[in-house]
Symmetry: C2
Subunit: 122 residues, 2 copies
């Protein structure tokens, strides 16, 4: 077995960013158009500081872009990393499914061979 | 905007469990067949304790099942939560894409209306 590699960190960041209901609500809000941090924080019953941290995580995962205009920061949603993470997860799933299927076949063949031996067949 | 709900925790657990290269390597190993914790820990350059913690996270996400036989614990891979998380992520992505597309259309219509007004059209 190969050593696990610290690769795929980009997709990992996407998955971790999406694995939180507050962050998903922020993204959903941004699909309605650009917003400022204070606008985004308003409907949440958590501190502005917490909302800022969630936004930082979304920016690190490139799910949120920031546009600065004078003193104002405008945030928008970038759907690209979601598509990329989905494609990558599907590949992982397919690889795992293939391996499980191959294992299943080996086990079935072993069962067959054992049954033949029990019946005294070659 | 609706308050974010602490829902979807099952899928969140799946995403967080999958968002780590060590845990993915453990799952990949388990697609080759059942294994004991000590077998799983062997190829990793991290402590047995760390590997146990990763396995606990995988079990909480129901990606790993544990079968106890006497003193021995055997672990196996359950691919079902991966499929469920993928289906759910695709739904989220589709909803977001739909909203972005609707927003795009509104903006284009506004651009058109602005252009007509500039040209003095009704």
């Amino acid at each position: 077995m190969k050593m696990p590699q610290a690769s795929n960190t980009r997709h990992d960041r996407t998955l971790i960013a999406l694995a939180d209901p507050t962050r998903r609500a922020i993204l959903q809000r941004l699909t309605g158009g650009e917003a400022r941090v204070t606008d985004l924080a308003e409907p949440f019953e958590i501190s502005l500081n917490s909302v800022s941290k969630h936004i930082k995580m979304l920016e690190r995962a490139q799910l949120v872009r920031r546009r600065v205009r004078g003193r104002e920061h405008f945030l928008s949603f970038n759907p690209r990393p979601v598509d990329q993470a989905l494609a990558w997860m599907e590949t992982q799933r397919d690889l795992w499914t293939m391996r499980l299927r191959a294992l299943d076949q080996i086990l079935q063949e072993e069962d067959c061979a054992a049954a033949r031996t029990q019946r005294g067949l070659p």
